[in-house]
C-alpha cells in the first residue's frame, strides 16, 4: 500500500468518507423541486412553471415569475443570513420577526415627510423638526434598534446562561410589545423619497445578494467565522482553546439582530408603511430557510450558500403553489412538513456520519 493511503497506526484512510459539499445536494433538491412543478404544470395547467411557454423566444425564462420568487424571499432571506450564523454558533434566534416589527415602526417614524399632497402628514409620529430627515438618519436608528435587541439577547445568553430558546422567546414577546406600544397600534406611513428608494423595485434583491456575499466571505475567511463554527461544533473545546466564547456569542447575536433590523428597513421602505404586525412568524421562515439549506440545528455545520439555496427552495415552493392555484392553507401545511422533513434528513445524515466513524 502506498504511504499516502495510510492513516495513523496503519488505519487506512477511507476516501469515500469525504463527501461532496452538502450544498450540491441542496442545489439538486432545488432543481428537483423545480422539475416537479414543471411536470405538474405540464400535466395540470398545460403551461410551464419557470420557462416562457407563450411561444415567444426573446426570453427563455418566465422573468416575471423569477422576479417574484427572488423578490419575495429576499427580505426574509436577509434575516436568514443572521439566523444562519446564530444556528451555526449552536444557538437559535426566535426574536427576529418581532425585531422586524419594532424596528420597522421606530425607523419609519424617523423617515416621514412633513407634508402629503400639501396637507400635513396624517400619520405623523413626531413634530416637523423630526420630519424630512435624510434617509441615513432612520437607517442608523433602525440599525441601533437591532444592535440593542441583539445585545440584550447575546448578553442574556452568554452571561446568565439562559438557553437561547428562552432568551430570544422573551425578546419575541417584548419586541412585539414595543412595536404595538410605539404608536398605540397605528400604522406609520409616508416616508421620504430617499427612504423609499431603499426597498424600491428590485433593491431588496440587491441588498440580499450583497449581504449574502459579504457574510459568505466573513464566515469563510475571517477569525469571526472560524470561531462561530468552532463554538457551534464544540463549545468546551473552543473555551479550552482560549476563544472568548461569551464575547463572541454577544457579537453573533448582535449581528443577527442587526440583519433583522436591516430587513425591517427594506421591508418598510418597500411597503411605504410600517405596521405593528410586520414580520410575524418571519423568524420561523428564516429558520426554515437555513434548515432547508443544510444548516444543522446541532450547530457547527451549514453555510451562507446553503441558506441562499434554502431561501430559493422556499420561494420556488411558495410560487409553485400559487402557480398551481393551490390555496394558501395548503402552502402552509406543506411548508411545515418540508421544514420537519429537512430536520429529519439532517438528523439522519448526522447519524449516518456517526456510524461511519
Amino acid at each position: 500500500m502506498t504511504d499516502g493511503s495510510h492513516g495513523v497506526g496503519g488505519v487506512t484512510f477511507d476516501a469515500s468518507r469525504r463527501r461532496w459539499p452538502n450544498e450540491v445536494n441542496i442545489f439538486a433538491a432545488l432543481i428537483l423541486i423545480i422539475l416537479i412543478f414543471e411536470a405538474l404544470g405540464a400535466l395540470l395547467m398545460n403551461q410551464s412553471f419557470l420557462f416562457d411557454s407563450r411561444g415567444r423566444f426573446d426570453t427563455i425564462f418566465n422573468e416575471q415569475r423569477l422576479r417574484i420568487i427572488i423578490l419575495q424571499v429576499s427580505i426574509i432571506g436577509i434575516i436568514a443570513l443572521g439566523v444562519t450564523q446564530v444556528i451555526i454558533l449552536g444557538g437559535i434566534d426566535l426574536s427576529s420577526g418581532s425585531v422586524v416589527g419594532a424596528t420597522a415602526m421606530i425607523t419609519m417614524s424617523f423617515a416621514q415627510v412633513a407634508t402629503v399632497n400639501g396637507h400635513p402628514n396624517p400619520k405623523a409620529v413626531f413634530g416637523p423638526e423630526l420630519m424630512d430627515l435624510p434617509a441615513i438618519v432612520p437607517v442608523i436608528v433602525g440599525l441601533a434598534c437591532g444592535l440593542f435587541a441583539g445585545l440584550v439577547n447575546g448578553l442574556l445568553i452568554a452571561y446568565t446562561r439562559i438557553p437561547p430558546f428562552i432568551a430570544t422567546l422573551g425578546m419575541l414577546v417584548s419586541a412585539r410589545g414595543v412595536a404595538k406600544w410605539w404608536t398605540k397600534g397605528q400604522p406609520v406611513s409616508f416616508p421620504t423619497e430617499g427612504y423609499a428608494w431603499i426597498g424600491s423595485g428590485m433593491m431588496p434583491v440587491i441588498w440580499f445578494v450583497l449581504l449574502a456575499v459579504l457574510f459568505h466571505l466573513i464566515l469563510r475567511y475571517t477569525v469571526y467565522g472560524k470561531h462561530t463554527y468552532a463554538i457551534g461544533s464544540n463549545e468546551e473545546a473552543a473555551r479550552m482553546s482560549g476563544i472568548a466564547v461569551d464575547r463572541h456569542k454577544v457579537l453573533v447575536y448582535a449581528i443577527a439582530a442587526m440583519l433583522a433590523a436591516f430587513a425591517a428597513i427594506v421591508l418598510s421602505s418597500k411597503n411605504l408603511t410600517a405596521q405593528s404586525g410586520m414580520g410575524v412568524v418571519y423568524e420561523l421562515y428564516a429558520i426554515a430557510m437555513a434548515v432547508i439549506g443544510g444548516v444543522s440545528l446541532a450547530g457547527g455545520r451549514g453555510s451562507i450558500v446553503g441558506t441562499v439555496l434554502g431561501a430559493l427552495i422556499f420561494g420556488v415552493i411558495q410560487s409553485g403553489f400559487t402557480f398551481l392555484r393551490l390555496d394558501a392553507f395548503y402552502q402552509e401545511m406543506v411548508m411545515g412538513a418540508i421544514i420537519v422533513g429537512a430536520v429529519v434528513l439532517d438528523q439522519w445524515r448526522q447519524k449516518r456520519a456517526a456510524l461511519r466513524s
Binding site: 497506526g9 464544540n234 482553546s241
Partner: protein, 257 residues
C-alpha cells in the same frame, strides 16, 4: 537554583469548597525528562493537571516554569507560555479540519481587523504539515473534518498541536484510553519521538505497561497528595500498585497520610 528544571510546583493545592482535591503537591520535572503521573480515580491527577495548564486557578501554592513563577489566567495563557496539553476529552472541534483545530483560538491572520481579521489559510496549512512531520503523524488529508476521522487520527491531531507550536512542555492526559491496539502503538511512537527530540513530557496513564515502556520516572498520587516518586529502574508494577492502593507510602511523604 537548578537551571535544568522545566516545571516545579511548590505546595500546589486546590480545594473545591470542602473537598481537598489536591493538597500540597511538590513536583519537579527536568529538561528532557518524561514523567508519568499515576493514581486511582479521584486521586488528584487531573486536578493537578488543571492547575498547571491554567484551566483552574489553584487555591494555594506556586508554579515555577523554566525558573519563572507563573500564574495562568486561562488555558490560552498556559499555551502561550509553552505548555501544550492533550486533554482526556479531546479539545477538538468536530466540524473543522486539521489546520483549523491546530490553530483554534490562535489563528494566523493576514490583516488584523479584530474579530474580522482575514485568516492566513496557507500559513496555517504549511505549519500544520511541518508539525505533523515533526511528530511523525500521518494524516492523509488534513482538510478532512475531525468528524470523519478515526479515534487514533483524532488523538494524533490533538498531539500534533504540541509539535506545531514549539511547546516547551507537553502534558498528555490518558492519551490512549479510548484507542485500539494499533492506534495506541502509533501514539506511543509519537511519545518516543518526543523523547528522542528531548522534549519534556508529563504523561497521565492507567496503563502500567505503557508507563514502564515510555517514561523515566513515576509520580503516584493518592487522596489528593503525592505519595511516591519512583525512578523506573528501581521499581516494578507490583510496587507501583502498592503505592496506588495505599499499601505503601514513601517515607518522605508519609507524615501527611
Amino acid at each position: 537554583m537548578d537551571s535544568d528544571i522545566v516545571l516545579e510546583t511548590r505546595d500546589l493545592t486546590k480545594h473545591y469548597g470542602g473537598v481537598h482535591a489536591l493538597e500540597g503537591a511538590n513536583f519537579i520535572l527536568r529538561q528532557g525528562e518524561h514523567v508519568a503521573i499515576m493514581g486511582d480515580n479521584g486521586a488528584g491527577k487531573s486536578t493537578f493537571v488543571r492547575q498547571i495548564t491554567g484551566v483552574e486557578r489553584p487555591t494555594r501554592g506556586e508554579i515555577i516554569f523554566y525558573g519563572e513563577k507563573v500564574q495562568f489566567d486561562g488555558p490560552l495563557d498556559a499555551r502561550e507560555a509553552g505548555i501544550e496539553t492533550v486533554f482526556q476529552t479531546l479539545a477538538l472541534a468536530d466540524d473543522l479540519d486539521v489546520p483549523d483545530n491546530l490553530f483554534l483560538g490562535r489563528e494566523k491572520t493576514l490583516f488584523n481587523l479584530g474579530p474580522f481579521s482575514i485568516l492566513d489559510y496557507r500559513g496555517m496549512r504549511e505549519a500544520t504539515k511541518a508539525g505533523l512531520e515533526k511528530t511523525g503523524v500521518k494524516i492523509p488529508n488534513i482538510h478532512n473534518t475531525i468528524r470523519n476521522m478515526s479515534g487514533g487520527q483524532r488523538q494524533c491531531v490533538a498531539i500534533a498541536r504540541t509539535a506545531t507550536f514549539h511547546s516547551r512542555l507537553t502534558i498528555m492526559d490518558e492519551p490512549t484510553a479510548a484507542l485500539g491496539v494499533q492506534e495506541t502503538a502509533q501514539v506511543e511512537n509519537i511519545i518516543r519521538a518526543l523523547k528522542e527530540a528531548g522534549e519534556p513530557l508529563i504523561l497521565i496513564s492507567h496503563n502500567m505497561r505503557q508507563v514502564f515502556d515510555l517514561v523515566d520516572r513515576i509520580v503516584v498520587f493518592r487522596r489528593g497528595r503525592i505519595c511516591a516518586n519512583l525512578v523506573k529502574e528501581e521499581t516494578d508494577g507490583q510496587d507501583v500498585v502498592a503505592y496506588i492502593t495505599g499499601a505503601k507510602t514513601q517515607d518522605e511523604y508519609a507524615e501527611a497520610f
